[in-house]
Amino acid sequence: MLCALAMFLAVLAACSGNNTAGAPSSASPADSSTTPAASDSPAAPAEPAKIKMMVSDHSLAVPDANDPRIKYLEEKTNTDLDIEFLAHGTYQDQLKLKFASGDYPDVYQSWSGPEADLVEGGQILALNDLLKEYGPNLLEKIPQAAWDAVTVKGDILAIPQPALTASGQVMFIRKDWLDKLSLNIPTTSDELLNVLRAFRDKDPNGNGEADEIPFSMRENIQWGDNIFGMWGIGTAWTEYYYNNEVILGNIHPNILKGLEYIRGLWDEKLIDSEFMTNDRVRWESKIRAGLVGVWDHAPNLVTQWNQDLRASVPDQNPEVIVIPTPRGTGYDGPLGTRWSPISKTFILTKNAKNPEAIIQYFDWLISDEGQIFSELGIEGDTFFRATSDGQITFDAKKAQSIAWLDAIIRIHGYNPDMTKVKLADDEMFTYLDQAYNIANSEGFVNEAIGMPPIADERNMTTMFREAAARVMIGKAPLGDYEKFMADWRAQGGDELVKERTDWYNANRK
């Protein structure tokens, strides 16, 4: 009897893995021809379309179904939304589990295009025709690079939210320290060296102790990308078309320059001696304690850094600005960090019974009205329009209560007008605008975007970190890294390169 029970349960478990074969795909693009083409005249008598959505809660407090903004959104888009907010920390796992047990929503949020497995299994809806019919705003306002990132073999497989900036990591510097020491903003790697040396020696934080940390980064060789970026190299999942091959940045010859530079920083004590063990909290604490001169971070955080430092070290009159990535000696290619054109994405599944309604929902969100809503909330509640000149003011105290709107619902990229209103601080806005301009004017292509993910990276993550770390802190000569590059290729890396190059040649040339 136990055996029978076991078999029964095993069969049940097996079935739930592939029960989706039977789901009829009523949402084939062919249907769209029967519904009205105009996207801005909702079919008046139509019932609100039910949409089931799964999203990450981005670690924010989430609204319940009766929240006025949800109601407003449903009204404006003529939908009946059933949004399931899943905990951010386990979001990817949760999604996988739900899919594995056959629980598919109509649309789900991700940070890239859909997984190859799902596409192969026919679970994902291609959106090309739907967008032409129902999403003109989307097609107009979302840049081509973003669409390309979610397009496979000509099929658009997701609605991408364009990233706020082209490149996602920039160099921050304590401007007040530069001013105090009468230094110019460094534009080359050598000038940066001189600035760092001055930071180390001349006590810019004015406390009489040589406790400054000229440059700091984080463990696992993260958040130091702009140093490697001085020679155009990205160290994580970045691929280049070089010498007729598609290779990872980690085995590109220019990476040696970056490693050598950091090694120099280490020898001269210009880099945080604990950078290999800095976790996020410690690294932030050091910066906020007014000890660090230069660091890398996301461009949109320049306002936060300024606010944080003013709170923690007010007597230093701190000023944090973003500077363009300096140019590495002997290099004349693109500088900065890799371009990633998308932040989050929304993917429609074959389950969706009203894909037209879903496209229209997003189309409204990216319209001017929708953009105001997703950034500022509802008029009269979180923002006010002056009757005299139409000037909009935003109630910053309520910002936290609609943080989810911005992080989860919003589909548009950078809207300077909205950002200005939200910040309500012209000084901060200047910093932000400047940071965004820099982030958008530097950076380089990452071939990996739009390519299928690497199935077996031949242990690059592990081996790179180890080989690079050794060189950076002086435990091994630079030649060892060159040896690593050759060894990695010989021990299976060549196969990976060939795989990627073959795909590139077949699909991109």
Binding site: L9, L12, A13, S16, G17, H58, S59, V62, E84, L86, A87, H88, G89, T90, Q92, D93, Q94, K96, L97, A100, S101, W111, G168, Q169, N220, Q222, A236, W237, R280, V281, E284, S285, R288, A289, H297, A298, L301, Q304, W305, D308, A311, S312, S340, S343, K344
Partner: protein
Amino acid sequence: MNIRRSIGEKIFDTVNIAVLALACITVCIPLIHVIASSLSSTNALIHAKVALWPVEFNLDNYKSVMQNRAFWRAFGISVFVVVFGTLLNMLLTVFTAYPLSKSYLRGKNGVLMYIVFTMIFYPPMIPVYLVVKEVGLINTVWAMIVPVALSQFNLLICLTFFRSLPEELFEAARVDGMGEFRMVTWIAVPLSKAIMVTLGLFYAVFHWNSYATSLLYITKSSLKPLQLYLYNLIAKSDMNEMLANVIESTTKLNPQGLQMATIMVATIPVIIIYPFIQKHFIKGALIGSIKE
């Protein structure tokens, strides 16, 4: 009785006390620092000013955690899980360990291997989830109780202790006509008080502190237990390095303080209850029973 102790014994006792006191100090000092940190302001922590006393005393970390109604709901859920979970655990443990402690039970070794095998080979996440789903436990409070109804480790401990109970006791009871079920309840359990209490403590602490049992099975926020609630609060999103670029933002509420507040919440109930448990660690539970 002989109360005179030799010099050797006196030295031993003194050294013993000294060693244990030293061990206590190595534990106390870091703990005091942890407590002080959780009572200090963010600014003080950033500037690394906190040693063994709170600097810029404030209860922000605790306030932000405990002011939420959600916190208390999660608290209630945890209490429920602890009570019913431990109950189920102890029942299963005792009644599975007892037969296996009888040396004459045929097939015992096979069953033991069946049990130990599952301790070493543990199934991957997705199949476990599928089973829990098929049994209908997802998003129910029982998802935190039934899939962990029995700890093989605790079972083996219980088993080992039952083995040491003299068989003569049970023989005598059998002659008196007592059934096996009653023998478990009226003989085995009372004689193993220290172990029963210890295992109960282990299970209760496990339930109180676990978030793994609910991490993937509970998505309804009204059903989240305390540790899961706190875990989400600390937003362990840093663990996914590939997404770090996307959701990076400087931490608003000091995570160190939050973490420490979390630890406080986890530990205080145990500290309160433990003295009551220690009372049961009385020597000589067996005295008198053999003479009967």
